[in-house]
C-alpha cells in the first residue's frame, strides 16, 4: 500500500457516508442512462428500466465490494465481527457462561499441568549459561538383573571421573538438610554444597559480596565460607549487611561472604536451597569419620555430577568418554573392595543426560505421574472441545435461517466463516483468561498434591506457560468453530429458506451425535481410572499395619556434632527419654533405632536351614522394651523384652508370626536359637545364640504392601544402645497439632548446647507410603468428575436444543394423542443410545489400557468388573437425567401455543 493510497483510504473512511450516497447516485444515473439507450433502441420504458436494473446485478455485493476501498476492510471487518460477537454472546448469557467455563476448565487444567511439567522437566535452571552444553551425569549398571540408573555418587567417584576424562569441565553439588542458626532460631534448612566449577556453569554474579574460590573450596585450613540465597537474606536478615558475619550451619561456623542473585537454585533437584557452601565442607557436617575418608572411600553416595562439554563435543561423545572414566573408576574401587561386581555383569555406562533429573533416564515416579496427568488433562480438554463444538453446532442450527438470509443477500461465505471464527476466538479468549485464573491456583495445588512442593507457582511473566494457554485457546477455537461454521454456511440457501421456520431442522447432525459418543467414552475412561485409583488408595489405607501409628510422635534429637563418647550419648538419650515421659500427654516413650520404614538386615543363621536369606528378607528393628506399648504391637506368644534383658544378659529377640512360621514350621518358636551377624558384628557362624522369647503380630515396616513381613525385634540394651537415633512418643490425644509443638519446645530446652529436636507425627511416614495411590486417586477423581460434569452438561445442552427445534413436531404428536410416556421414550431412546455406544467404547479403551495401569494399582484388578460397572451405570444414569429434564419440559408445552402460527 503506497502512502497516497493509505491517506486516500483514511480520508475515504471519514467520508464514507457521503461516498455511499455518491455511489448510489452513480448507480441511479447508470440505470437511467442505460434505460435511455434501450428506449432509444425501441424498448418500452418499463422493460428498459427493468433490464437496466437486472443488468446491474447484485447491488448489495457491488456496494460491499466498493466499500472495501473506503478504509481498511480486513481490520474493520474483524472489529465489526468482534462487536457483533460480543453482542451475540451478551444476548445468550447461558450459552456464553457454559462455553467459557467449559473451555476454562480444559485450558486451565492443561496450562497448569504444562506449567508444572515444564518447571519439573524442561525449563533450564535460572542463570544457567549455555544450557545446551551442560549435562547431568547418570551412571547406569545392571543390579540383580535390572538396569539401575543412579544420580548420586561418592565424592571419590567425582574425583575419579574428573581425572579420567578430558571432554569438558566437571562440577558437583550436594543437597542436604542441616540445622542452621543458633539456639531458638535454629531451623532445618536446605543447604547446597557446590564446587566452585559449578559456579562457572551459571552467569550469576552475586547480589552482594562474592562467590567462594577454588582455594576456599579445597583447603580445610581456611575458615569455612558461605553464600546466602537471596530469599534467606531477605526473610531472615531483612537484607541487612551480612558480609563477614558468622552463620552456624550443622556443626560448623561459616563466614558469610556473599548473597546469591534472586532465584538462583544451582541445579537443585529438590527444594530451592537456602544457603550455598563449598561442597568440601559438607562431609564434616555429616560425620567426622566420613569426612576423613571421603576422598578415598566409595561407600557414601551423596554428590550429583554435572559436565559442561567442551566446544564440539557431542552428548554421545561425552557419554562414551565418561563411560570409560566410570569403568576406570570402578577398577580403582575394586582394588579397595573385591566385591565390586565385574564389568561383564554390571555393564557400567555413563550417560550425559538432561540437567533436570525428572527428564533424565529413570526419571522416576514424578515424571510418570506427570505424564499421566498430561494425558488426563488432554482428555479433559478434548471433552471440553467436543462439548463446545456441540453447543456451537446446536446454536448454529438455530441460526441457520439467519445465515441463509445473509448468504442470499450476497454476504460472502468467507466473511461469514470469519465472523464465526471471531466469535469462537472471543469465547476461547474468555475461556483462556478464566483458565489462567484456574491454572494459577491449580498449578500450586498440583505441585503440592503431586510433587509435595509448596513453593509458589506464579504465571505472571511465565511466557512459556502463557504461550501454551494461547495455543490451547487457538486450538480450541479451530476445533470448535471451523467445522460448525463451514457446515452452517454450506447449507443450500433455497432449501433452508423455503423450510417452515416453525418446523425447525428436526434432525440432529451426525457430527453432534459423534461428539456425544466421544464425550461419554472419554468420561467413562476417566471414571474407570478414578474408580481404580480410589479403590487402590482405600485398599492401601485399610491394610492392617499391625501397629497403631496415629497418636505417635517421632522425635529426632540432633546433638549437632557435639563430640561425646558413647556412654555420654547413652546417658543423654536416657535423660531425654525421662524428660519426654514427664511431658503432659505422653503416655509412653521408647528409643528406636531408625525411621519407621527403615529396617536393618543382618546375616541370619538358624539350625536346620541352609540359607535363611533364600527364604526372603528378614528385617530387624532394635528398640527399647516400651516400643511394643508405644506402637501397640500385640505379643502373640511368649513375652516382650524387659529391663532385665540388658547388656551381658543372654541375647533375646522377638519374631513376627510369619517369620516364626517360615523358620520353624510346626514347631514352638519360643526358645529357638538364631545366630545374628554380619555388618559390624562378628560373622554369624561365630555369633552366640540369640534366643527367641516371644512372637509378635506381623507388622508392616519395610513398606505397607510388604508380604510376608518377616520381622524380628532386639532390645536396644543388648545392641548398640547409643545408636538409638530417635524416640517414639505415644500421646494420650490423637490430636497431635498442639502436642507436637509442646514436645518440641520441652525437649529442645533439655538438649545440650546448640542441640535441637525435630518432631513429626509418625503417621506422616505411613501416609507417604500410600502417596502414589493418593495422587492417582486425586488426579483421576478430580479430572474424572470434571469430565463427567462437562459431558453431562453437554448432553443436556444438545438435547435441550434439539428438543427446542422439535417443539412443533412434539406438539403435533401430543395433539394427536401421544402420551407423556411416548414423548419421554422418544427422547430418552436417542440420548441413551448414543451414551451407551460411548460407554461401550470407553470400556473397551479402558480394558485395552488395563495392562499398563495394573502395576500402578494396589490389591485391585485393572479389569475390576465392579469399577467398570459403576462407571458405566453412573454415566448412563447421568445421561438419562440430562435427557429427562428437557424432555419433561418439552412434554409440558401447550400444543395450542406451539402450533399457533407466528
Amino acid at each position: 500500500m503506497t502512502l497516497t493510497e493509505f491517506f486516500g483510504r483514511l480520508i475515504a473512511m471519514t467520508r464514507r457516508k457521503r461516498l455511499g450516497q455518491e455511489l448510489a447516485e452513480d448507480l441511479e444515473a447508470h440505470i437511467e442512462l442505460f434505460a435511455r439507450d434501450l428506449i432509444a433502441r425501441g424498448e418500452t420504458p418499463e422493460r428498459a428500466f427493468l433490464t437496466a436494473r437486472r443488468q446491474l446485478g447484485n447491488v448489495t455485493r457491488l456496494r460491499e465490494d466498493s466499500r472495501d476501498a473506503w478504509g481498511f476492510p480486513s481490520i474493520e471487518a474483524i472489529a465489526q465481527d468482534l462487536r457483533y460477537a460480543f453482542r451475540g454472546l451478551r444476548r445468550n448469557p447461558g450459552f456464553t457462561v457454559t462455553v467459557v467455563m467449559t473451555l476454562a476448565l480444559g485450558i486451565g487444567a492443561n496450562t497448569a499441568i504444562f506449567g508444572v511439567i515444564d518447571r519439573l522437566m524442561f525449563r533450564p535452571y535460572p542463570y544457567m549459561s549455555e544450557p545446551g552444553t551442560i549435562n547431568r551425569v547418570y551412571l547406569e549398571s545392571i543390579y540383580r538383573g535390572q538396569p539401575s540408573v543412579n544420580t548420586v555418587f561418592p565424592w571419590r567417584r567425582y574425583l575419579d571421573l574428573e581425572r579420567a576424562q578430558s571432554i569438558g569441565t566437571l562440577a558437583a553439588q550436594s543437597e542436604s538438610r542441616f540445622a542452621v542458626g543458633r539456639g531458638e532460631e535454629t531451623r532445618i534448612r536446605h543447604v547446597m554444597g557446590i564446587t566452585s566449577s559449578l559456579v562457572g556453569f551459571f552467569d550469576a554474579p552475586p547480589a552482594r559480596g562474592r562467590w567462594f574460590t577454588r582455594t576456599e573450596e579445597s583447603d580445610p585450613s581456611i575458615p569455612a565460607v558461605a553464600v546466602l540465597s537471596h530469599s534467606m537474606w531477605t526473610n531472615d536478615f531483612g537484607q541487612e549487611e551480612v558480609l563477614g558475619s558468622l552463620l552456624k550451619i550443622g556443626v560448623t561456623d561459616y563466614t558469610i561472604i556473599g548473597v546469591a542473585p534472586p532465584g538462583l537454585v544451582a541445579a537443585a533437584a529438590g527444594p530451592p536451597p537456602d544457603v550455598f557452601i563449598p561442597i568440601a565442607t559438607v562431609p564434616s557436617n555429616v560425620d567426622r569419620w566420613l569426612s576423613n575418608s571421603v576422598n578415598t572411600n566409595y561407600g557414601w553416595e551423596w554428590v550429583q555430577i554435572f559436565v559442561k562439554r567442551n566446544p564440539g563435543v557431542s552428548e554421545e561423545a561425552a557419554s562414551i568418554a565418561l563411560s570409560d572414566a566410570y569403568r576406570w573408576s570402578r577398577a580403582s574401587e575394586r582394588s579397595l573392595n573385591a566385591y565390586v561386581t565385574p564389568d561383564s555383569i554390571a555393564r557400567p555406562r555413563a550417560i550425559a543426560g538432561p540437567v533436570k533429573q525428572a527428564a533424565g533416564p529413570g526419571g522416576g515416579a514424578q515424571s510418570s505421574i506427570m505424564l499421566w496427568a498430561v494425558g488426563v488433562a488432554l482428555i479433559v480438554l478434548i471433552i471440553a472441545c467436543a462439548n463446545v463444538a456441540n453447543l456451537m453446532l446446536a446454536r448454529l442450527a438455530v441460526r441457520q435461517r439467519e445465515v441463509s438470509i445473509r448468504l442470499a443477500i450476497g454476504v460472502r461465505r468467507r466473511r461469514l466463516v470469519l465472523q464465526f471464527l471471531v466469535e469462537g476466538l472471543v469465547l476461547a479468549a474468555l475461556g483462556a483468561i478464566a483458565g489462567l485464573v484456574i491454572a494459577q491456583w491449580g498449578g500450586s495445588l498440583i505441585r503440592l498434591l503431586l510433587l509435595g512442593d509448596s513453593t509458589s507457582f506464579s504465571l505472571a511473566n511465565d511466557w512459556r506457560t502463557l504461550g501454551v494457554a494461547l495455543i490451547c485457546a487457538l486450538a480450541t477455537t479451530l476445533l470448535t468453530t471451523v467445522g460448525p461454521a463451514l457446515s452452517a454456511t454450506r447449507a443450500d440457501v433455497t432449501t433452508s429458506l423455503k423450510a417452515d421456520p416453525r418446523a425447525g431442522g428436526g434432525h440432529r447432525s451426525g457430527a453432534q451425535a459423534a461428539l456425544v459418543v466421544v464425550q461419554s467414552a472419554l468420561s467413562v475412561l476417566l471414571l474407570v481410572g478414578a474408580g481404580l485409583f480410589v479403590r487402590s488408595f482405600v485398599n492401601a489405607r485399610s491394610v492392617a499395619l499391625g501397629y497403631d501409628s496415629t497418636p505417635v510422635l517421632d522425635v529426632f534429637p540432633d546433638f549437632r556434632g557435639v563430640q561425646m563418647d558413647s556412654a555420654v550419648v547413652l546417658a543423654e538419650r536416657e535423660r531425654l527419654l525421662e524428660v519426654a515421659r514427664a511431658i503432659p500427654g505422653v503416655e509412653s516413650a521408647a528409643l528406636v533405632d531408625n525411621p519407621l520404614f527403615a529396617t536393618r538386615v543382618f546375616d541370619l543363621r538358624v539350625n536346620g536351614i541352609d540359607s535363611v536369606a533364600a527364604l526372603g528378607r528378614f528385617s530387624a528393628r532394635i528398640a527399647s522394651p516400651e516400643y511394643f506399648d508405644v506402637m501397640q504391637i500385640r505379643i502373640v506368644r511368649g513375652r516382650r523384652f524387659s529391663e532385665s534383658d540388658r547388656s551381658g544378659a543372654p541375647l533375646v529377640a522377638l519374631v513376627s508370626e510369619s517369620m516364626a512360621r517360615s523358620l520353624w514350621p510346626g514347631q514352638n518358636p519360643i526358645g529357638q536359637c538364631m545366630r545374628i551377624g554380619g555388618g559390624t558384628l562378628p560373622p554369624a557362624e561365630r555369633a552366640p545364640c540369640t534366643e527367641v522369647i516371644g512372637v509378635a503380630e506381623n507388622t508392616a515396616q519395610r513398606n505397607i504392601t510388604d508380604d510376608p513381613r518377616f520381622m524380628y525385634y532386639m532390645p536396644a540394651a543388648q545392641r548398640w544402645p547409643q545408636n538409638m537415633s530417635r524416640m517414639y512418643l505415644r500421646m494420650a490425644s490423637r490430636d497431635l497439632l498442639g502436642a507436637r509443638e509442646l514436645v518440641r519446645r520441652e525437649l529442645s530446652r533439655a538438649m545440650p548446647s546448640d542441640g535441637f529436636v525435630v518432631v513429626r507425627p509418625l503417621q506422616e511416614q505411613v501416609d507417604n507410603q500410600s502417596r502414589s495411590w493418593r495422587l492417582g486417586a486425586v488426579l483421576f477423581a478430580s479430572f474424572g468428575a470434571l469430565a463427567f460434569v462437562v459431558a453431562v452438561v453437554g448432553l443436556y445442552g444438545v438435547v435441550s436444543y434439539s428438543l427446542a427445534q422439535r417443539r412443533r413436531e412434539l406438539a403435533v404428536r401430543v395433539a394427536l394423542g401421544a402420551r407423556t410416556g411416548d414423548v419421554l421414550r422418544l427422547v430418552l431412546k436417542e440420548g441413551a443410545g448414543l451414551t451407551l455406544i460411548g460407554i461401550a467404547i470407553g470400556v473397551l479403551v479402558a480394558l485395552a489400557a488395563s495392562s499398563r495401569v495394573q502395576p500402578l494399582l494396589f490389591s485391585i484388578s485393572a479389569m475390576d468388573p465392579i469399577t467398570y460397572g459403576v462407571a458405566g451405570v453412573s454415566m448412563l444414569l447421568a445421561a438419562l437425567a440430562a435427557c429427562l429434564f428437557p424432555a419433561v419440559k418439552a412434554r409440558k408445552t401447550d400444543p395450542n401455543e406451539a402450533l399457533r402460527p407466528e
Binding site: T2, E5, E25, H30, E32, A69
Partner: protein
C-alpha cells in the same frame, strides 16, 4: 446496431480491467456508464464490463489517486460523478500499458514457438 445481445461477450483478461478503465479515461472525462459503453464500443462490442466490477474498481482508483471525480449533471438530469485521469493515473496507465504489451508479446512468442 450491435450484434446479438444474448451472445456471450468475450471475458476481460484478468488484471486488465484497470488498464481498460484508465485508457478509456485518457480520452476524456466520463461517468461510470460512459466508461462501460466506451469499452463496449471500442472493443467492437466484444468486451462487456460488469458493473459489479467497474464501480468497485473506480472506488479503488479514487483512493489510489489515479482518477479524480467531479459532480456533473447527466443528460437525464441527475447529479453523478464524472471521472478524470490524474497525473499519477497517467503514469500508471503508461506503466500498465507497457507491461501489458510486454506480457502479450511474450505470451504470443510462446504460443507461436509451440505451434511451429
Amino acid at each position: 446496431m450491435a450484434k446479438d445481445p444474448s451472445a456471450p461477450p468475450t471475458a476481460i483478461l484478468a488484471g486488465t480491467l484497470d488498464l481498460l478503465i484508465l485508457k478509456t479515461l485518457s480520452m476524456g472525462t466520463l461517468h461510470g456508464y460512459g466508461i462501460a459503453q466506451n469499452i463496449h464500443n471500442l472493443s467492437k462490442e466484444a468486451l462487456r464490463v460488469e458493473e459489479g466490477s467497474l464501480y468497485p474498481a473506480l472506488q479503488r482508483m479514487l483512493v489510489k489517486g489515479w482518477v479524480s471525480a467531479e459532480l456533473k449533471r447527466t443528460p437525464t438530469g441527475r447529479q453523478a460523478r464524472y471521472y478524470k485521469l490524474t497525473a499519477s493515473g497517467r503514469k500508471q496507465l503508461a506503466a500498465e500499458e507497457k507491461s501489458f504489451h510486454e506480457s502479450v508479446s511474450a505470451t504470443t512468442r510462446v504460443l507461436r514457438s509451440a505451434e511451429s
